[in-house]
Amino acid sequence: MKHSEFISRFLIVAGILLAVGAPLFLWARTPLIHARMAEDGGWNPDVIQAEVGKPLHLKITSDDVVHGFAVGQMEMQSVDILPGKVTDITLSFDKPGIYTFFCTRWCGLNHWRMRGTIEVGGSPSDPEPATVPLYVSLDLDLDAPHDAPLIPPTQPSAINGQPLTATNSITLSREDYLTHSPYDVFAELKNTSLTEEQRWDVVAYLWQSNTTSESLTNGKELYAQNCAACHGENGAGDGVFADDLATAGESSMQTMEGAMDMVMQAPVDFTDPRRMLGASPALLQGKILRGGMGTGMPMWGSIFTEDQIWDLIAYIYSFQFEYLR
């Protein structure tokens, strides 16, 4: 064989090996977390291992649309994950446990199913006793009907309720606020000289006085990011996904493993006074923590902190009441 033929063959084989080998080698050395719409698999991998005190470097890419990445119950800003781009994120954990990471962009009908876990190993330096959620200690049945038997003819006003509350020396402790529905408090005011409308106004004021403007602002932000897609910007259960979910029907609920028994339900309407005035904050806490158990409402217990859930509940009640500004 001539030298030129040999060199040509060598160069061709070397070129082919380079073209195949180099990308494969580099690809194998770059482990990526892929984000896809839940219908197409969600996060892959969806379980990540980490160690307390050791920084966790993640490279995340989206295979379809813009997603967001955040870890529940952690102080971190959500990070956008752009299609075809790689986002580097470094996390550190100071407590062991199982953390939930989730998508923060309304990426598709099953956006809320885009979740994964980070299993953080290591021994806790300062073990904290687990606290029992209020709805558990009260033994509330989250699925029992809780409609208010009576609803106000007009939206109750905290503005009108404020002087009435002061005049009649009415107070509502934090504990009573958390464990009673607005209707319960309305009913307990029946022995006063107030009219029904005035009693509802007092309830509105008592509800506002059990929150702060900061809490409402925080709740509003959380609601806009996490709830409005289904429940609607104004709480009417008419979010951008509500119609699509109704159109997709049960099939939209049965796309992922373990989700075969789910039943499609329309998102709850927070502007419905019968439903909302009959619900105590503790009951709402349970519903948010646990989720809708197969209705399409995700469980938020692994994502929101307790304070965030109370902020959210305070904001949700604002769809029922006219608050002081």
């Binding site: 001539k2 033929e5 040509s8 063959r9 070129g15 073209a19 990308p23 494969l24 989206s62 075809g84």
Partner: protein, 443 residues
């Protein structure tokens, strides 16, 4: 006749005569092609950030349709990597002359397939799936790999480049449109070929291989099936092969009378118009149908696509050229006159391609630095943002291409009509209507 022989220039002559410059280009192209396959298969599924989509369907397509075909005819075929592994395997060598006894089956392609109908079909197959093919990296990777393996397979069964000549989905239209290019490979003196013993340009010799494209250069009158591989320049013992610079569309003075080529002209004209409407137009319903491959809407789209290409366009063309008093058979008139659609179709594709190439060209920078979507930044351009380019000149350039194409076609129609002794007016009117429609679709 108005030709400048480029091979008289020593630099060009030497560059074409030597195998090494071509081999260097071949290796680079083959490495790039295999990398594109790999990128399609293992890179990001996001098409706009994957090398396979960006470099094949944006960069390569832009070079092919805006530069290579209009100015160099089959210039792309001269450097295309797809047939190379099969050809090297078939020859048992890269540079050395082939063995006397063929290594493989070396069969002649059956006569019924020695036309471009298979290329028409393979182009249409890709065209019907193009919405998915052009946007999905792993499908692009699979199709690129399939073409490479098909070429290898055919090389082991049939003689010469059977894939390029009879199956390649792009080779068919490149050949058709190469007739308009200002470059040609021709013999210098016919008498030399007539008396040449052994015809080494076709049969091969110790100096090189017989024409891989199954063409006898001595009989070349059109660019259509000459792949510009330059092998005959090396094998001709009489230095009788020239590469010439010539007027545009010189081959159309004597139009072909083949129906496979005539229908190719309609396929290309119709595809450009359908793509302009479906991919660039404002009608979401058409886009959805084209993208949802396998759905009932897609089947309707596919049937409509084929009906426009095989019934509506050629049917209306035939109605226009019906002339019962003419003695030349209708079939021959149809085939000859349809050659007027060749420059028109080419300029339709130029106008259509300008639109999506200028819109998407900025993806090239990002994909260059991060070809697999793994977060690399090889050349510091990974974060280049998408931005349509030269938007202000797009519409004028498209208009110029389409109107220029119409004028060019009208001249081609005059020549073709002269050959079959009919009036060119119906063909010119046909081209005018098609151009108006395309202008409306694009602008």
């Amino acid at each position: 006749m108005n030709r400048i022989e480029l091979t008289r220039i020593p630099f060009i002559k030497n560059a074409l005569n030597s195998r090494y410059p071509q081999l260097a280009v071949f290796i680079v192209m083959l490495v790039g092609y295999i990398f594109a396959i790999l990128a399609g298969l293992i890179g990001t599924p996001v098409g706009s950030h994957n090398f396979s989509i960006v470099f094949v369907w944006i960069a390569w397509w832009a070079i092919l349709i805006l530069v290579a075909v209009p100015f160099f005819g089959r210039g792309w075929c001269a450097v295309c990597p797809i047939p190379l592994p099969g050809e090297w395997l078939q020859r048992g060598a890269v540079l050395s002359p082939p063995e006397k006894r063929p290594k493989w089956l070396n069969l002649r392609v059956p006569k019924m397939f020695r036309n471009i109908w298979l290329q028409n079909i393979s182009f249409l197959l890709l065209a019907l799936f193009s919405s998915v093919l052009l946007t999905t990296p792993n499908i692009t990777g699979i199709v690129l790999a399939a073409m490479l393996f098909a070429a290898i397979g055919l090389s082991t069964v049939f003689e010469r480049r059977a894939f390029c000549r009879y199956l390649c989905p792009v080779g068919g239209f490149i050949g058709l449109y190469s007739q308009t290019a200002p470059i040609e490979l021709r013999i210098k003196d016919k008498q030399v070929c007539v008396t040449c013993e052994g015809k080494p340009c076709y049969n091969g010799s110790s100096a090189g291989y017989g024409c891989p494209w199954d063409v006898f250069p001595g009989g070349l009158t059109k660019n259509t099936y000459c792949g510009l591989c330059m092998e005959c320049i090396r094998t001709c013992p009489h230095d009788n092969i020239a590469v010439n610079l010539r007027p545009f569309s010189a081959d159309l003075a004597k139009p072909s009378t083949r129906m496979d080529e005539a229908f190719k002209a309609f396929i290309m004209l119709g595809s450009a118009m359908i793509y302009a409407g479906v991919l660039l137009g404002p009608w979401g319903i058409f886009k959805d149908a084209a993208y949802n491959v396998g759905s009932s809407a897609w089947f309707v789209y596919a049937v409509a696509f084929l009906a426009i290409i095989f019934v509506v366009l050629p049917g209306s063309f035939t109605l226009g050229i019906l002339n019962t008093r003419n003695t030349i058979p209708l079939k021959q008139r149809f085939a000859s006159l349809s050659s007027a659609l060749i420059p028109l179709g080419l300029m339709f594709w130029v106008a259509f391609s300008l639109s999506f190439v200028l819109t998407n060209a900025s993806y090239i920078l990002a994909a260059l630095s991060d070809p697999l979507g793994l977060g690399w930044n090889l050349f510091g351009t990974a974060n280049a943002t998408w931005q349509p380019m030269l938007t202000s000149i797009l519409a004028p350039a498209q208009t110029l291409a389409l109107v220029g194409g119409l004028i060019w076609s009208a001249r081609a129609a005059q020549k073709a009509a002269n050959e079959v002794k009919v009036s060119p007016i119906p063909v010119i009117v046909y081209c005018f209507i098609a151009t108006s429609l395309m202008l409306w679709l694009l602008l």
